[in-house]
């Protein structure tokens, strides 16, 4: 019995052991001055900085600015990207017209537009909102579109044969078939949105966690830099976990293992 449990959790155990080894080695390297702690920081220093910042209202202001940029940019990308992707997949002519623009936007990292966004919207929240939106909207459009297109003709034929209305066809065939693709796009887009926040705030900002990282970097406060990076890692993990949870609810009809 015990052996079974051990076997089942081997991946997690080995993974945790590896992480622990890494953290201890890092701490030891800093303690025994294998490398200058000013450059590499150490887990304990990061932890104490975290505790310090928890009390700091400036830090919470940064968090608020960054999350505002992330949430609104991402939500706007969802609100625009899903309908647009559906429209492009559903109406051939819309695809013909918009396809070239989307291909071009997809080929270029949207953070390239950062200087233009700053020119248009200034260095406040709006330029970040725009970059987050641009970064996230393209993968959402593309994967939604791909989802509609892979909706197999045979299901559409069934709907047509039963005389389903356009609306019924859309709700009963297109949407459920496209949902897994939309989620893939949403997951991918959340990474792009986070990237937009970081780049936007590194580039030109007056507040935000990315701005905090940049300033800490300039002042050689390695502990704060690491803390900021970990905060982004944590956010990324939380967002993908939440999305995976929601996806699971939509996914009961798929055999286990078919889920990528």
């Amino acid at each position: 019995m015990q052996g079974d449990a051990l076997q089942r959790y081997t991946p997690q155990l080995v993974g945790a052991a590896a992480l622990l080894a890494f953290v201890s080695f890092w701490e030891a390297a800093a303690t025994y001055k294998l490398a200058d702690p000013m450059f590499i920081s150490s887990p304990s220093r990061i932890a104490s900085v975290a505790a310090e910042m928890w009390e700091d209202p400036d830090f919470w202001r940064d968090v608020k600015v960054s999350s505002t940029e992330f949430i609104w940019g991402y939500l706007a990308a969802i609100a625009v990207g899903i309908p647009l992707g559906l429209a492009i997949g559903w109406y051939k002519r819309v695809q013909y017209a918009l396809g070239p623009f989307i291909d071009v936007l997809n080929a270029v990292p949207r953070v390239t537009f950062m200087p233009i966004m700053v020119l248009w919207f200034g260095i406040g929240i709006w330029s970040k909102f725009a970059v987050v939106f641009l970064g996230a909207v393209i993968p959402i459009i593309l994967s939604t579109y791909a989802g509609v297109r892979t909706n197999e003709a045979r299901y559409l034929r069934v709907a047509k044969s039963f005389g389903a209305s356009q609306m019924k066809t859309f709700k009963s065939i297109i949407l459920p078939g496209t949902a897994p693709y939309i989620f893939t796009g949403l997951k991918y887009a959340s990474g792009r949105a986070l990237l937009g926040v970081v780049v936007g705030e590194l580039y030109a900002a007056t507040a935000g966690v990315g701005h905090m990282i940049a300033q800490a970097g300039n002042a050689f406060e390695t502990d704060r830099v690491f803390f900021g990076v970990l905060l982004f890692t944590f956010t990324g993990l939380v967002v993908t976990t939440i999305l995976a949870r929601i996806e699971k609810r939509f996914d009961r009809w798929r055999p286990e293992g078919a889920v990528r």
Binding site: R154, V158, S161, G163, W253
Partner: protein, 261 residues
Amino acid sequence: MTPKLVAKDVCLEYRQPRTGDRLLALDRISLSVNEGEFVSIVGPSGCGKTTFLSVVDGLLPATSGEIIVDGLRVNKPGPDRAVVFQDASLLPWRTVLRNVCYGLECIGVRAAEARERAMKFVQMVGLDGFENSYPYELSGGMQQRVNLARALVMDPKILLMDEPFAALDAQTREYMQEELLRIWEQANKTVLFITHQIDEAIFLSDRVIVFSARPGRVREHVTVDIERPRSLKLKRDPRFHALEDRIWSLIHDDALVQARS
């Protein structure tokens, strides 16, 4: 007897987008199916039998000619015809019961009533207890039973079956053929059945219509004068073999002519 379904000089032409050539897929198909009759269409692959079924269902418009159901001309899908499709055409995101409800929902039947009516047919095809399963949890044979129930629940005047057992293994297929006859006798429907398996066509049908290949034409009507109810033992009957030989040589000749030209 009154003909339930009449096809009059049905032609279908395709235009190939790349070359602009026009291709004749169906050439003046005329046939009729009587009330309560079980008619099969057999023919070599590419003879347009599935295409013809799509025309009857109204999924494809005929280039010329007409399809008449119960004396009325039809040109789009309607609840008077229901198709049992070839392969897994069940909606994978719906349970068995909700798949069977699908057609009823499309014509605006209330959910509760649709559920009740669907349940009756889930039982008729022998899937009691599986109504809340998803298609991926069912075997191929069970999936085709759902497919059949989904068509029957519409109470269509004509049931159109498009090689429904083609994807099943040989044993399951024979078992399903017997089951289909049982359900057919119980439901008392007019059936137009498409297959490329000669023995399947003979075993099930009152009449077999042989199509020739490219373009699809009606080559011959073969009446199956064998009493019902039938069991699988029939497949070893000499009358059965005689019919099988006859249809086989019709198709074979045609294939040879095709290969030479």
